[in-house]
């Protein structure tokens, strides 16, 4: 986790396809994609929060892909990104989107459907 945060803060941002994949194929695989714009504090915070969250709840069975829209603006259309940062849960289906820096862990977990939400 620390390593990841360090990487994020190091220019240029090079976080693409940090694979922390599970060895065991039998468990549900989580495919997450985080859209950021440059190295804004919000982006950095979002990645840090996401990392922590995944380690706590999805250890060994997740995959985070970070996409920097400043570098790849054309990728924004694919997942209909308007807000930054946005986390997209590609797998498991259905697609879920969580916007914001994931500061509120409870809500993030609800958003990722890792915890039954109030709604």
């Amino acid at each position: 986790m620390k390593r990841a945060v360090k990487q994020l803060s190091k220019p240029p941002l090079r976080l693409d396809e940090i694979a922390l994949q599970a060895d065991d194929d039998s468990v549900e695989k989580w495919d997450l994609r985080l859209y950021v714009a440059g190295q804004s504090p919000r982006s950095v915070a979002a990645f840090a929060n996401l990392k922590r969250l995944c380690e706590e709840h999805l250890a060994g069975r997740y995959n985070i892909e970070v996409i920097d829209l400043v570098k790849h603006p054309q990728l924004a259309a694919g997942d209909q990104i308007i807000a930054i940062p946005t986390l997209v849960r590609k797998l498991p289906q259905p697609i879920r989107k969580i916007v914001g820096d994931l500061r509120d862990t409870e809500r993030a977990l609800v958003g990722l459907q890792l915890r039954p939400g109030k709604s």
């Binding site: 915070a45 308007i82 807000a83 969580i98 914001g100 820096d101 809500r107 993030a108 609800v110």
Partner: protein
């Protein structure tokens, strides 16, 4: 509309740079277009044409003004948009291929989105920026950005970000159109007018008496004068057109050229030459008095001169009109075939007044006719209120006059109403008013016509009967009887009586002539007889005279012979020369 703006913005100061919309009429009332390099808010309720206005702004910019554009849609996909505007003749796919247009659909789905913590709309900025940079766009449309409010919960962030967005658009120098849904008591539901303050256009879709009309109003436009009225606009197969008709003045040029009404004897009533070109002629009358036939004659005459005629029929279909006119010997179909005559039929109540006005405007601008017939204008009242119909027709007349088009308006006077008034109260603004009416006399109903007024020309004051024959309309001579003007069989009987009298007079004259000839012949015979008598007497007197001479000579001879024989001196003295002569 004319390219010349009706609003004077050139008062010496350099005018605000404008991005022309290319929408007929809108550039007139905005004095050249939307503010260049600034955002414009277009607001209105659902279905009033916001998206189309925005799209046309982009398409015209790309095709006519060399300004590529980005359309960011929040409600419709690129595919849907392309399909929707294809009916307006815009081929978005082609423009996209030519790199003149970018369509970007932004989907914001509340159910998919969870918010946690802070965020901003940088993603939107990046997308928009990428789209702008990809084709060097000068125009941007955000339709409808309010969709963000339904997709994202944090209004505080949204508002801050929107403010930043419009600031950013200004800094980019793109002319942007932002659409917004009309809200209760405010221009937009989410108060977008707070952020976009340079130019606000309000579209309205109003239903009065079950007839809907679209209207456009410029609520504000900083740094420039603009038309402030509500202008009707129209969406049809060529896109939008706004009608700045109320900005028309009375400054049209007039023509002193005269054109025929199509009925030679009617021309004779109108100073011998017919109507003025560019004037407005009103034909009013009760049902079945031949108003449409008159109009058809007028149209026919125009086509015969090789002029273009637009005939708006609100009660008959083109086929019906042509067939009916065929029966009075007018072949309108040949003019339709060679495009001199265009007949547009539509029921008046199908569309709103403004729609009709817009449609007429459009048709007139497209086909540039010399002559326009509206049959009947009273039908338009059904499409709106009397007051609206009145103002619409006045605007229409102004519009036709400005374009130098001669117009014939047909008005049906309802039975029982005063003849010399029109349902739409336009009699004071028409130039020539022909009144056709029924004359009920001796158990018959006959048609009569008179020129109630005709400005600027000497016109007949006679009430003339007119017949609709299988060779067209014929105006007859005036027959005035003891009860007034005679028409129909009264006229026919008067005509017969007059014929009988004339015949009697003729016969009388012939008889007198014969008498005269006979008298002369008698006189001449007498003269001959007298002359003969005289000749006899004359011959006789000559004979007597010669006999007398002979007798006297003989007497003298005898006397001298006697004297010789008597040797009388006195006789010798009396005739000495003869003797001398004889002695010599």
């Amino acid at each position: 509309m004319t390219t010349k703006s009706t609003i004077d913005i050139s008062n010496g100061q350099p005018a605000l740079p404008k991005a022309p919309t290319g929408i007929p009429g809108l550039d007139d009332i905005t004095g050249g277009g939307l503010p260049k390099g600034r955002p414009t808010l277009v607001c209105g309720s659902a279905g009033c044409g916001k998206t189309l206005l925005a799209m046309e702004f982009l398409v015209r910019g790309a095709t006519e003004y060399g300004e590529p554009g980005v359309f960011m849609a929040f409600e419709e996909t690129a595919d849907e948009l392309t399909k929707n505007v294809r009916s307006l003749g815009f081929d978005l796919n082609k423009l996209v291929k030519q790199k003149k247009l970018v369509l970007d659909f932004v989907r914001v789905e509340r159910s998919e989105i969870e918010e946690t913590g802070e965020y901003d709309l940088e993603g939107l900025f990046i997308r928009l920026n990428a789209a702008i940079e990809s084709i060097g766009a000068k125009r941007v449309v955000l339709d409808t950005i309010e969709a963000l409010f339904s997709g994202l919960q944090n209004e505080g962030i949204l508002r801050a970000e929107l403010r930043r967005l419009f600031r950013w658009l200004k800094d980019k120098g793109v002319s942007a159109v932002i659409t917004g849904e009309r809200g209760e008591g405010s221009l937009t539901r989410r108060g977008l007018e707070e952020y976009v303050s340079d130019c606000v256009i309000l579209l309205d879709h109003r239903v009065t008496d079950q007839v809907s009309t679209r209207r456009l109003r410029i609520v504000k436009y900083r740094g420039t004068t603009h038309g402030t009225n509500e202008y009707p606009f129209l969406i049809d197969e060529d896109g939008l057109s706004v009608l700045p008709v109320t900005s028309l003045g009375l400054l049209h040029t007039v023509s002193s050229e005269r054109i025929s009404s199509g009925v030679p004897r009617l021309d004779a009533m109108l100073g011998g030459e017919g109507f003025y070109r560019g004037s407005t002629v009103l034909v009013s009358g009760t049902a079945g008095t031949g108003k449409t036939s008159l109009a058809a004659h007028f149209a026919n005459a125009a086509c015969q001169r090789g002029e273009h005629c637009l005939y708006f029929a609100f009660e008959e279909s083109p086929g019906q009109l042509i067939r009916n006119m065929q029966s009075i010997g007018l072949d309108l179909s040949r003019w339709v075939k060679n495009n001199l005559l265009q007949i547009h039929s539509s029921r008046a109540m199908f569309d709103g007044l403004e729609m009709h006005l817009a449609m007429i405007h459009k048709q007139v601008q497209e086909s540039k006719p010399d002559v326009v017939v509206l049959d009947p204008i009273g039908a338009l009242i059904q499409a709106g209120t009397l007051r609206d119909a009145n103002s619409m027709i006045i605007r229409l007349i102004d519009f036709l006059k400005v374009n130098g088009i001669t117009a014939m308006l047909i008005d049906l006077t309802s039975a029982g109403e005063a003849l010399e008034r029109t349902d739409v109260n336009i009699s004071s603004i028409v130039d020539t008013w022909l009144l056709v009416r029924d004359l009920e006399l001796a158990g018959e109903r006959n048609r009569a016509m008179y020129v109630l007024k005709s400005r600027g020309m000497r016109h007949s004051n006679q009430l003339r009967e007119f017949l609709i024959t299988d060779r067209g309309i014929d105006l007859l001579d005036v027959y005035v009887g003891p009860e007034g003007v005679l028409t129909g069989s009264s006229r026919v009987s008067l005509e017969a009586r007059e014929r009988a009298t004339a015949l009697a007079a003729l016969q009388d004259a012939e008889r007198k002539d014969r008498e005269r000839i006979r008298k002369r012949e008698a006189l001449e015979a007498k003269i001959i007889a007298l002359r003969k008598e005289f000749e006899i007497e004359d011959t006789e007197s000559v004979l007597i005279a010669s006999q007398e001479l002979t007798r006297q000579q003989r007497l003298e001879k005898d006397r001298s012979a006697m004297a010789v024989s008597r040797q009388a001196d006195q006789l010798a003295v009396s005739i000495p020369p003869r003797r001398k002569q004889s002695s010599r």
